[in-house]
């Protein structure tokens, strides 16, 4: 790298970072007086100061007896009813794709230590079912559940009923057709051949259309909002929904980016799906649920500002850390590494905000299923991202790249962070849409323990395998086959962990179907992990 390039990079880096800090400073100083007023309007009158912490026995839960409070309560109900059809169709589809996707994941996992398994049919070869797993869980489960949760939260955040719900319903139908056609095409061997972009581009426009139809109600609702101040969750949701169509469209334009440029665009996109699409959805949901259930504000507005804007600045350039050591210009790789490490700024500020708000209330995760899933998810967000920043360093990446270590990190992010938060959100949302409680406490408990133990086994075994594999691969004297054989016990452990996760998903889906079809036990109190006499949030 020449000194001129380095100088240009340094100047851009300093200008953008300092510019960002100035931006944050000006927003926070201007808006500050505003936001304190806004803070009061956000409380439903009379709610302020009512803690819901069951650890403190004598506090009275919010009963909503004043007239204003009753109005607010009715408004909230109307908001939830307005989004109900859209949310239900997005969430139910998501749950279906979770089952399909994780089934293909388990199959792929088994084939890695037992290659003869179902090997005589082209429909079940590893090269087809792995991308089917990836696309089913990313575009089917994660994206659809995320959009469902956003559609539910947006009317609440903007304090007005959702407008244009039919657009979102149509969007869901088109999106589902897209996933079906896309997975079908991959199964027929008609993949585009780039990771995360396997769906043929002819199918991709369905996603652009479905996503755009979803954005309509959000924009309509945003235009009619009755709140002055946008709560932090809405920043993330709006940003994600604006970013995603652009990313998806640019990366899928056929035949424009050949060769190494194509790989660069491919990974620019793949990390942006993670960083600018599913991550903001996950963080936004956590930003809503944690304070909601605890009944106390998130600790710092200024920290949320730093967290949001630095994510927006730094995330979009990190993609090339997937190509470290590849035939890509050194300056571009270096840029992605610096930005990957800078990503620890939003991660740490969000972590202080989330975990600082939880501080002193950790006991609540013993009872509330939603809070337990969401907070563990938030904690794993911190963990994955800090791990990711380290993995982007050349000295670490030279070991971990091309190994199972990356896959362990991928599931720590997509599963222990994102999927956990989505599970928690669904446990929160469904009773409010269907106006009944989850039928069985033990089903939720079983779901939690199966997936928690499953992902723990999954992560620990693959992390160990990946590290050993990486060290061995760097030693030219070790025969390749010996390394493959060394990893087999760990891959078997992964199938065990994955099997538990799939079992957990089956429990969850059965429970979800009972909930939807209004069958199963009719409980009167909220369905919590432990029976309590007092009413508290889910």
């Amino acid at each position: 790298m020449t000194p001129t390039i380095a100088l240009l990079l340094i100047i851009t880096f300093l200008l953008s970072t300092v510019g960002l800090l100035v931006l944050i400073w000006s927003i926070s100083t201007n808006q500050f007086s505003n936001s304190q007023n806004a803070a009061r309007t956000i409380f439903t009158p009379g709610e302020e100061g009512h803690s819901e912490d069951p650890a403190r026995e004598d506090t009275s839960a919010y009963k909503g007896d004043s007239k204003a409070a009753k109005e607010a309560f009715t408004a909230r109900r109307v908001q939830d009813q307005s989004s109900k059809p859209a949310v239900l169709i997005w969430l139910s589809s998501a749950v279906f794709w979770l089952l399909i996707g994780s089934f293909y994941g388990l199959l792929a996992s088994i084939k890695m230590h037992y290659p003869e398994f179902m090997a005589d049919s082209q429909w079940w070869t590893f090269g087809r079912i792995r991308p089917m797993h990836l696309n089913a869980v990313v575009y089917g489960w994660s994206s659809m559940a995320g959009i469902g949760a956003v559609l539910f939260l947006v009317p609440r955040l903007f304090k007005t009923p959702l407008r244009g719900t039919p657009y979102a319903v149509t969007g869901a139908i088109i999106w589902n057709i897209g996933v079906i056609l896309g997975l079908g095409a991959i199964n027929f061997g008609l993949s585009d051949g780039q990771e995360w972009l396997e769906f043929p581009w002819q199918v991709d426009f369905l996603f652009v259309l479905g996503g755009a139809l979803c954005a309509v109600p959000l924009l309509l609702t945003c235009a009619r909002r009755t709140v002055e101040h946008l709560y932090v969750s809405s920043w993330y949701f709006l940003a994600a929904l604006v970013w995603f169509p652009f990313l998806f469209f640019i990366a899928n334009v056929p035949k424009v980016f050949p060769g190494a440029t194509g790989a660069t665009v491919n990974w620019w996109f793949a990390h942006n799906v993670l960083g600018l699409w599913v991550t903001p959805l996950g963080i936004g949901i956590a930003y809503y649920i944690i304070p909601k259930i605890l009944g106390r504000p998130i600790i710092s507005y200024k920290l949320s500002l730093i967290g949001f804007w630095s994510l927006a600045l730094f995330y979009s350039q990190v993609g090339i850390h997937h190509l470290i050591g590849g035939p890509i210009p050194t300056w571009l790789v270096t840029l992605s590494i610096v930005h990957s490490v800078m990503m620890s700024i939003p991660v740490i500020t969000v972590a202080i905000n989330h975990h600082g708000t939880m501080w002193g209330s950790f006991g609540r995760i013993k009872e509330s299923p939603t809070l337990r899933f969401v907070w563990i998810g938030a904690l794993m967000y911190t963990a994955t991202s800090l791990q990711g920043s380290l993995m982007a360093l050349r000295s670490v990446n030279v070991i971990t790249h091309f190994t199972h270590y990356t896959i362990a990190h991928a599931h720590l992010g997509m599963y222990a962070f994102l999927s956990f938060i989505l599970f928690g959100a669904i446990y929160f949302i469904m009773p409010r849409l269907t106006d009944r409680e989850w039928p069985w406490r033990r089903m939720i408990s079983l779901h939690f323990w199966l997936v928690a133990i499953g992902i723990l086994i999954y992560f620990v075994s693959l992390t160990t395998a990946g590290w050993l594999q990486g060290l061995a691969l760097l030693d030219a004297k070790t025969p390749f086959l010996e390394i493959v054989q060394m990893t087999i016990p760990y891959l078997q452990a992964r199938s065990l962990g994955g099997g538990l996760m799939v079992a957990g998903h089956i429990v969850f889906v059965v429970h979800f179907i009972f909930m939807l079809s209004r069958r199963g036990a009719m409980t009167q109190g909220p369905t919590l992990f432990r029976v309590r006499t007092k009413e508290i949030s889910q």
Binding site: L9, I299, G325, P431
Partner: protein, 197 residues
């Protein structure tokens, strides 16, 4: 409004909002440290190659233009780049797929056989140490220089317990003038031309 209905809504806490706590000083210290680190990291890359690659990349062979540097060429390095994917770093090959080089009668036999295989490639069934293999080995004519072919052959003839004479680049050149651009050999042709190993 009945007590039983909308229970989930009734027990809800307030809508979330942001508190006004200040950003801990430590966060700013951390940001500052990272900015300094970032500038340093960019500066540290000055002088590194412009085009990617790292310790895992295929090493670029020095240009060879005179025969007397032959002894400077590292046959082992060429082996690990060009040959070890099939024949393995241990020279044991992969049973049923790629024949071993360690202890192979073909490796230890007349050097003309080895030069022929490397120069023109090999295909069809071949018996090595009592086992039959049936595959295709690519030729290296035009991909490796005479000096490099000699170096890597000398390497495999002296590794893993093998002990045969070194091979001189001259032999490779002689082979070139005699056979030119020949199609890949079969083991029968090799035996017919050079005798049984």
């Amino acid at each position: 409004m009945s007590e039983k209905k909308y229970r989930a809504h009734q027990r809800e806490g307030p809508e979330p909002e942001e508190g006004v706590r200040e950003v801990p000083k430590l966060v700013f210290v951390y940001i500052l440290i990272l900015i300094i680190w970032g500038v340093g990291y960019y500066a540290w890359q000055i002088g590194k190659p412009m085009q990617g690659g790292d310790s895992r990349s295929v090493a670029i062979q020095p240009a060879i233009n005179s025969e007397n540097v032959a002894t400077l060429i590292d046959g082992g390095a060429i082996y690990s780049i060009q040959c070890s994917a099939c024949h393995q770093a241990t020279g044991q090959g992969i049973p049923g797929a790629f024949p071993p080089l360690a202890g192979s009668e073909w490796v230890l036999a007349d050097s003309a056989i080895l030069v022929s295989i490397l120069q023109d490639g090999l295909q069809g069934p071949i018996v090595v140490a009592g086992n039959t293999y049936n595959g295709v080995m690519p030729y290296f004519r035009g991909k490796l220089s005479s000096a490099e072919i000699a170096a890597v052959l000398t390497y495999i003839r002296s590794e893993w317990g093998n002990n045969a004479d070194r091979i001189d680049p001259i032999m490779v050149d002689e082979h070139k003038t005699r056979f030119g651009e020949r199609v890949p050999w079969t083991s029968d042709e090799l035996i017919a031309e050079f005798g049984k190993p």
